[in-house]
């Protein structure tokens, strides 16, 4: 943490900040173009990229954090996907019978 040179983390923070703002702008603009089902796909992909950037660089998952922290993050995502995945499997197959 203290091993960094004084200016290097700040530069990274500003680059990530600019990327996040650019992502927001693209999300906003693309929403007004008709791309059928791809509208939602693009919006959620950009949102996930933005969330990953915040977690990796602003929340210091990349580099500084220990393995146990990474495990907690991965298990949180795993259980979220389990919740969404299994629920949607149920709803998507209800009309089959």
């Amino acid at each position: 943490m203290s091993g960094h040179s004084t200016s290097s983390p700040l530069k990274t923070y500003f680059v990530i900040w600019a990327a996040l703002l650019a992502g927001t702008y693209v999300t906003y603009k693309v929403a007004f173009i008709d791309l059928h089902p791809f509208n939602a796909a693009i919006a959620l992909t950009i949102a996930s990229i933005k969330a990953t950037l915040v977690a990796l660089y602003f929340m210091h998952i990349k580099g500084a954090s220990e393995k146990l922290t990474k495990m907690v993050v991965i298990s949180a995502l795993f259980f979220l996907l389990l919740l969404l995945g299994l629920t949607m499997t149920d709803y998507a197959t209800r009309l089959w019978s």
Binding site: A51, T69, V72, L83, M88, Y91
Partner: protein
């Protein structure tokens, strides 16, 4: 040997008065605090996850009605709020860096700017809610969503009941997020107070880091809420 242990413990305590007895060294204490916060954030993921799941089910079930309801919300206000939160995340991460590198004035300034941006976010949110109240889009007895065309089908009207479900999810999700913002502002006002008293040092500034994690998490939730609630079926 016990003598040297006592001496080294005393030395550690003098070196870092914030180090608690049950931790071996400041690094272990810091890691434990950070891990505890991440476990809390994991529970928050599941907390909001239930709402996202409910949203997903009804968005797919009442696809067109949700599109019509979403279109009535001001997307520009939502986009502005996204930018405001992203800027506040930058000021938070600079504040953490300032605490690490003993820049007290910068730390105080960044904490203050973060809080200011938090208030701007809640102010814009209030304007948005006011619009919804005036348009009778708040679920309840006076809810009204009559003769609103479905996006892409100008001759068909959205089902008001289904639109009401969208607005219920909208108010619960943004409301819960706004509540987290209010809690965040409370945490940051304490951080600001402690920073002004000079309590944070490069050796011990765990509250700034932990509070920062919370603020970034709330930002991540908004990053998903923005496209899901404001930007569906926007195209003509």
């Amino acid at each position: 040997m016990p003598d040297s242990t006592v001496v080294s413990l005393q030395h550690e305590e003098q070196h870092c008065p914030e180090l608690l007895h049950h931790f071996a060294d400041p690094q272990q204490q810091r890691d434990a605090s950070s891990l505890g916060m991440w476990v809390f954030l994991a529970t928050e993921v599941m907390f909001f996850g239930g709402l996202f799941c409910a949203y997903l089910i009804y968005r797919l079930k009442f696809f067109a009605d949700f599109g019509a309801a979403s279109k009535s919300i001001d997307a520009t206000l939502g986009a502005t709020n996204t930018a405001v939160l992203i800027c506040s995340s930058l000021t938070v991460v600079v504040a953490v860096w300032a605490a690490q590198t003993a820049r007290r004035t910068l730390l105080i300034g960044m904490l203050a700017v973060t809080m200011l941006l938090g208030f701007v976010f809640l102010g814009i949110k209030a304007v948005e809610y006011k619009d919804k109240f005036e348009e009778h889009h708040v679920p309840g007895a006076s809810f009204s969503f009559d003769r609103v065309p479905i996006p892409g089908h100008p001759d068909q009207y959205a089902n008001p009941q289904h639109a009401q479900l969208f607005f219920s999810l909208y108010f619960v999700m943004t409301g819960l997020h706004a509540l987290h913002m209010v809690v965040g502002l409370g945490i940051f006002s304490w951080l600001l107070y402690a920073a002004r008293k000079g309590r944070f040092t490069p050796e011990w500034h765990t509250p700034v880091e932990i509070g920062g994690l919370y603020w970034h998490f709330v930002d991540i939730i908004w990053i998903y809420l923005f496209p899901l609630l404001y930007l569906i079926d926007r195209h003509p």
